[in-house]
């Protein structure tokens, strides 16, 4: 069974095959095949005009991709690690996000920006960031975050196919998960929206990317304590799939939201606020957030404290079930 890395590789290969306007750009993606080998073998198969090693400059990469999109190409950019997205920030938020609007719809920006994100792999500084909230707050961008091998394939095809720019977050600590790929044109039939990955009655647990696995584990553990967790994998962080979310919350009345990014101003805040606006009368407890703390991502020997783990999720679940008087952790107090 292929790993998530192989799924992404196949997804790129299929996209390169199906549409000659698809080109890949990034540091070390050609000869080396990318530091995670997501683009392994693609340069030799498609040539150096389709799979392009770029000079070491992220703003340059994104800016060049924008120019290619102006010309009718569908560039797929790889940012080597999450923390190296920031030098390209201006090109992402003032250019990529706004060019369709600025041109009154005449210029399409079908650019996919792949970012391996999140922690848990024992890396040094800048290699474990979760910058998704910045992009969710930026009008004009779509933001995808697959959690499974199948979704990695499917959603990357969808992102490349989309006429809008998509910031595509890959859960790097799940890169070695394995599963069968969907085949053929199946990816075209699925709408990019949230998915209830586990049905439950007592608490809605919402996550995306790497934390979905944690939520599934928590749901199994909670069962032992007769708590029935419904688990939602958001999959698209922009647009947010409010109908899936609110349907679940109206059913359970309790919510726990989980992400690795810091709490303050993180995506969890939007989810919590949006749920409260939409489901206030259904709520039995305030939606709680379990997140990274509001600190710089720590050295690797501390990351297990920083990352939301099974225990912290269960603790929050207990809290919303009012089985525990202590407030949940990770959220602002």
């Amino acid at each position: 069974m292929p790993t998530m890395i192989q799924a992404l590789n196949t997804s790129l290969r299929d996209a390169l095959t199906d549409d000659e306007k698809v080109v890949l750009l990034g540091e070390d993606i050609g000869t080396l095949g990318g530091v995670f080998r997501v683009t392994d073998g693609l340069k030799s198969q498609f040539g150096e005009h389709r799979v392009i090693d770029t000079p070491l400059a992220e703003s340059g990469i994104v800016g060049t991709a924008i120019g290619l999109a102006y010309r009718g190409y569908r560039p797929v950019v790889e940012i080597q690690f999450d923390g190296f997205t920031y030098p390209a920030f201006d090109q992402l938020v003032s250019q990529l996000a706004k060019l369709h609007y600025r041109s009154r719809g005449r210029v399409k920006m079908p650019v996919t920006v792949r970012i391996p994100f999140g922690g848990g792999i024992g890396s040094p500084e800048h290699h474990s960031e979760s910058p998704e909230a910045y992009f969710v707050h930026t009008a004009g961008l779509r933001v995808f975050a697959p959690s499974t091998v199948e979704d990695a394939y499917t959603m990357l095809r969808q992102a490349i196919d989309c006429d809008d720019p998509v910031i595509f977050f890959e859960p790097k600590r799940r890169y070695h998960e394995k599963a069968e790929l969907p085949y053929g044109d199946q990816w075209r039939d699925e709408a990019p929206c949230a998915r209830v990955v586990r049905r439950g009655d007592d608490v809605t647990a919402i996550g995306y990317g790497p934390t979905v696995y944690t939520l599934n584990d928590a749901a199994v553990a909670a069962e032992d304590e007769q708590i029935s967790m419904e688990v939602i994998d958001l999959r698209t962080l922009d647009p947010l799939d409010w109908s899936t979310i609110t349907q679940s919350v109206k059913h359970t009345g309790r919510v726990v939201i989980v992400h690795e990014a810091s709490a303050q101003g993180g995506l969890g805040a939007e989810i919590a606020a949006g749920i409260t606006e939409r489901c206030f009368d259904y709520l039995d407890h305030a939606p709680l957030r379990v997140t990274g703390f509001d600190v710089p991502y720590p050295p690797s020997k501390l990351e297990h404290h920083h990352l939301p783990d099974l225990d912290r999720v269960l603790h929050a679940v207990d809290t919303v079930m009012r089985r525990d008087e202590v407030t949940a952790l990770g959220a602002a107090r």
């Binding site: 080109v23 005009h49 770029t54 000079p55 400059a57 703003s59 340059g60 994104v62 800016g63 060049t64 991709a65 924008i66 120019g67 290619l68 999109a69 102006y70 010309r71 009718g72 190409y73 560039p75 030098p87 201006d90 090109q91 003032s94 250019q95 060019l99 369709h100 609007y101 600025r102 041109s103 009154r104 719809g105 005449r106 210029v107 399409k108 920006m109 079908p110 009008a139 004009g140 779509r142 989309c162 006429d163 809008d164 922009d238 647009p239 947010l240 409010w242």
Partner: protein
């Protein structure tokens, strides 16, 4: 730090000039070739173009003062740099401009009122990039230089012989993006011409604050082919740009042109240049006026200048009248325009906000404002 205000003109690469400020034709071994086929009609067009865009600029300044525009960035003094370069480009060469290339847009057929509609604040964009082969105007300094490189890369992949142009100012050369654009262009040998109008100022900052060497020298260091030209000499700019595009079309790699000119007006209508520069400096540059210079040349070569002037003035009058009528009657956009084109594909949040806001506005209908 006052040492930084050295006169960077004094050294470095030579500055090509083919018309002296008195309108004498100066031979130039590199550029004369590109001027061999100039006809009187083309010279008349240069004159008309420059006169018309100067009028458009004057009219826009006036409209701004009268409250018809929110802001305007004058091009006064840069007519030769803009007209000379765009007239040397092919129509299918794709331009990435900043916010001051009004003459470039006009020369490609953008109507003055469409151009000004952006400055009036009624729309994000005054033209369809694919109709005139000019990208949207760019306000973030230097960002477009990279877009030009990317576009040029696409040209190369397509096996086409078009050229991408990135226009920017002297101040822009300090930005990371412009430097990265030179890195990428050189690395990929992209078919791009960087056209830098060194108008001596970035708002209040003299070019000597951005660079102690000539800007052209910097580009040279990146391995780009470089021309430095008198930007107030429309023929030199035209010829250098012709030379540059020929070079690029031959697949020889990217080119950087530094057109040495001067911003005679304010940075924008919100600026007060008397706070940072002197009348003497302006006088020095007035003597180098691009339109006067062409006039003198035409006179010396025995052209029918009065007829050419008449033609130019008529075109300018026409533009001014049309522009004023169009701008002063230009309607404001309705609230639904807020939500248009944010995304190319359907987006539920935008849909919901649009519907909600329009419903909300409807509740005021029939009420006094």
């Amino acid at each position: 730090m006052s040492t930084q205000r050295m006169d960077v003109d004094a050294e470095g690469l030579p500055t090509h000039q083919v018309l002296s400020t008195d309108g004498e034709r100066i031979p130039d071994t590199e550029l004369d070739h590109y001027l061999a086929n100039l006809t009187p009609a083309m010279l008349s067009d240069f004159l008309r173009d420059m006169v018309v865009v100067r009028r458009m600029d004057a009219e826009a300044n006036a409209l701004q003062r009268q409250g018809q525009l929110g802001l305007w960035a004058p091009l006064l003094g840069q007519e030769a740099a803009q007209i000379g370069s765009i007239r040397a480009a092919r129509n299918d060469d794709f331009i990435f401009p900043s916010y001051r290339e009004h003459a470039v847009a006009w020369a490609r057929g953008v109507k003055a009122q469409d151009l000004l509609s952006v400055w009036r604040g009624v729309t994000p964009s005054g033209w369809d990039p694919y109709q005139v082969n000019i990208a949207c105007q760019q306000i973030v300094i230097g960002a477009q230089a990279l877009h030009a490189v990317g576009y040029a890369l696409g040209i190369k992949f397509d096996g086409s012989h078009q050229v991408a142009f990135g226009y920017f100012g002297d101040g822009a050369t300090s930005q990371g993006d412009v430097n990265e654009a030179m890195v990428f262009a050189a690395s990929y040998q992209a078919p791009v011409v960087f056209f830098c109008q060194n108008n001596q100022w970035a708002i209040s900052e003299p070019v000597g604050l951005q660079s102690r060497t000539q800007i052209a020298d910097r580009a040279h260091g990146f391995g780009l082919k470089v021309w430095r030209v008198d930007g107030n000499d429309v023929l030199a700019v035209y010829a250098a740009t012709k030379a540059a595009t020929e070079y690029v079309r031959h697949g020889l790699g990217p080119v950087f042109i530094e057109a040495v000119t001067y911003r005679m007006g304010a940075h924008t209508t919100a600026d007060d240049p008397t706070r940072y520069r002197t009348e003497e400096q302006l006088d020095k540059w007035r003597a180098k006026d691009p339109i006067d210079r062409l006039r003198k040349y035409l006179e010396k070569m025995g052209a029918d200048l009065p007829a050419m002037e008449r033609r130019a003035e008529e075109a300018a009058d026409q533009l001014a009248a049309d522009l004023r009528a169009a701008i002063t009657s230009m309607p404001d956009p309705g609230p639904e325009a807020l939500f248009e084109n944010v995304y190319a594909e359907p987006h539920p949040l935008i849909e919901a906000q649009r519907t909600g806001y329009l419903e909300y506005l409807a509740t005021f209908e029939g009420q006094d404002a």
